[in-house]
């Protein structure tokens, strides 16, 4: 096979891994709390700034900065739930979405005020690795592995812990679970924190690949939502698979055409999927 195409395919898989984490986080929150966090990519942005600030400004070791980023963004997720989402739980869905859209502006504005609109780079780069006849960026490969580990950890949490079981149950039927002695308010809080933590993990993986600026969320936020919808909102496995599909579309589109047009192709593909399978690619 053409080594360049092979490289594009490989990069697509790696990109899919990066998309997968925010998609899982959004799907978790939506599946459990039934609210779309329009500001999810901005939570990731805050995480990226956290890592950048702790590592380059405060001089912390990178691992410690990563480890701090997760609880910071998880706390932000909790705060978002308590201050904005919980009071709106019985409001119309559009009001919920617009309120989280307001948070999007708040976070972008706050980032601009604190860090200005400059592009900030972490300045960490791992040497490229040779796999057969193609070269792969070491940073991307490491991020990919970390994304898979994060997804596996989430799966294990949902599958093998009591809280995880309760989360899955409440996503299945939110009327009956309270009757079984599960406090939905507590489960919502936990899901929001875990959703935030996943955004934090995604931030750690993105900050090594992208420069941070207040509007960086707009570069991957829209496609994250589309992947969620393509996989079926709330469907974790569907979202996970759709992330890789979208990664492949974007990177092979970049191979055939150019990066910008590859996003046009990806978005058009999304619109077509919604027309043909409105409940997602993997809906029964």
């Amino acid at each position: 096979m053409d080594p360049f195409l092979l490289e594009a395919l490989l990069n697509g898989v790696l990109l899919g891994g990066v998309f997968a984490l925010p998609v899982l986080g959004l799907n978790l929150v939506f599946g459990v709390v039934d609210v779309v966090w329009l500001c999810y990519a901005e939570l990731v942005m805050v995480g990226m700034y956290t890592v950048w600030f702790l590592h380059t400004q405060a001089g912390w070791p990178l691992a410690l900065a990563f480890a701090t980023c997760l609880p910071v963004v998880a706390a932000l997720g909790l705060l978002l739930h308590l201050l904005v989402v919980r009071p709106l739980l019985s409001a119309a869905p559009i009001n919920q979405v617009l309120a989280t859209g307001g948070v999007l502006f708040v976070l972008q504005g706050a980032a601009t005020l604190v860090f200005s609109t400059d592009f900030r780079s972490l300045g960490v780069e791992m040497p490229p690795m040779e796999l057969g006849e193609v070269f792969v960026s070491g940073t991307k490969l490491a991020a990919f592995v970390a994304a898979l580990l994060g997804a596996a950890a989430l799966w294990a949490f949902l599958k093998f812990t009591y809280v995880g079981t309760a989360i899955r149950a409440i996503a299945r039927d939110r009327e009956v679970m309270p009757l079984m002695g599960v406090d939905p308010r507590r489960i919502y809080l936990i899901a929001s924190a875990v959703g935030g933590a996943l955004a934090g993990l995604a931030a750690c993986l993105l900050v090594v690949q992208l420069d941070v600026h207040p509007f960086v969320g707009l570069s991957f936020g829209p496609i994250t939502f589309m992947i969620c919808v393509m996989g079926g909102l709330g469907n974790m496995l569907g979202g996970f698979l759709a992330a890789f599909l979208m990664g492949l579309i974007v990177s092979t589109g970049g191979f055939w055409w150019n990066t910008e047009m590859s996003y046009v192709v990806a978005f058009l593909f999304f619109i077509l999927v919604i027309f043909v399978r409105p409940r997602g690619l993997f809906a029964r």
Binding site: D34, A91, I94, V97, A111, R174, P278
Partner: protein, 335 residues
């Protein structure tokens, strides 16, 4: 608002440039009115539960059509703007028809429009040979004697054009409200299946209101570009501007024809006062305050400022019906 009152208000507003206001004041008024027009267009469909996160796309399609026709073909904006508006309506139909036909609603509709808005933004950026990409483009200046033909005026001239466009938006709102379509759309917003079962042609009614909405947004976009003499993809397409349109309409109140205009006055006023207060840091402060306000509005005043005014007035039978139909159907309380 009664027709007579509206005409009197329009006549009063038309005399504004004759009072010799400062240029800066005129600039703010024109900008606010153009923002109001875009918001009116959005709310036209938003109030029936057709929430679009991609209205920026319609601004962009119309603005770039007008500007490219002028720069590349020398077509006067007097012809270019209507063509641009038609192109925006066409884009609305292209997006709306399959959506409505295939019953894409709610979150799904919002995300499809979001994708469409992003597509337009990226296309404008990618076609940089013609559009100047993200650096933007400027329509060519016409010589002074041809300025009128090129729709390049001073502030007063633009004020009158903008005023006419804004009034057209309100007129469209009024005509829609008095037609059977608005009743049909209210029924559709409440329950699409039930509406279809009593013989309402759901796809057709939705498409109609989408065309009007896209055309008004397109008009706002084309005139904005023509007024500023500068176009760029960030301010005329994509998620950012689309959310700003939504914010203005929601803050003002999307169920009242005057609501989006109130919202535009608030957003422009806020942006300018923050700019004066914070100087160069204004972009961050403005976005920050927008966001806080948007959250507060959603929490405490989901019907916007106009909703506040509504409640004080005793409900006439006609506005009572609008009240009932316009209310957003409440979601099932979770848990």
């Amino acid at each position: 608002m009664k027709g007579g009152v509206l005409l009197a208000v329009l006549a009063a507003l038309a005399t504004v440039p004759l009072l010799g206001p400062p240029d800066y004041g005129m600039h703010l008024l024109i900008t606010a009115l153009l923002t109001a027009l875009a918001g009116t267009g959005w709310a036209m469909m938003g109030r029936f539960g057709l929430v679009s996160f991609g209205h920026g796309a319609f601004l962009g399609v119309a603005a770039y059509t007008t500007a490219l026709l002028w720069n590349l073909q020398g077509v006067s904006p007097w012809i270019g703007v209507p063509l641009g508006v038609a192109a925006a309506a066409g884009a609305g139909a292209l997006l709306g028809y399959p959506c409505f036909r295939l019953r894409v609603v709610g979150h799904y509709f919002a995300l499809v429009t979001l994708a469409a808005g992003e597509i337009v933004r990226i296309l404008v950026t990618a076609l940089r040979e013609y559009t100047g990409g993200s650096l933007g483009m400027t329509p060519d200046r016409a010589p002074p004697d041809a300025a009128f033909a090129a729709m390049q005026f001073d502030k007063a001239g633009f004020w009158w054009i903008t005023l006419a466009a804004w009034a057209a938006g309100l007129l469209a709102w009024r005509l829609l409200d008095r037609s059977m379509s608005s009743k049909a759309l209210m029924a559709i917003a409440e329950d699409e299946d039930a509406a279809a079962s009593i013989g309402i042609r759901v796809t057709r009614e939705k498409l109609k209101v989408t065309l009007i909405s896209a055309a008004l947004a397109g008009l706002a976009g084309a005139l904005t570009a023509q007024y500023r003499m500068y176009l760029n993809p960030e301010s005329l397409a994509g998620l950012g501007i689309s959310l700003q349109i939504v914010f203005g309409a929601i803050a003002g109140g999307m169920y009242s024809p005057i609501g989006p205009t109130i919202g535009a006055l608030i957003t422009i006023g806020l942006e300018e006062s923050l700019r004066v207060a914070f100087g160069t840091e204004f972009t961050g402060a403005a976005a920050f305050s927008y966001g806080i306000l948007l959250v507060l509005f959603m929490l405490f005043l989901p019907r916007g400022i106009a909703g506040l005014l509504e409640r004080r007035r005793p409900a006439a039978p006609a506005s009572g019906a609008a009240e009932a139909g316009g209310a957003v159907p409440a979601a099932q309380p979770p848990g």
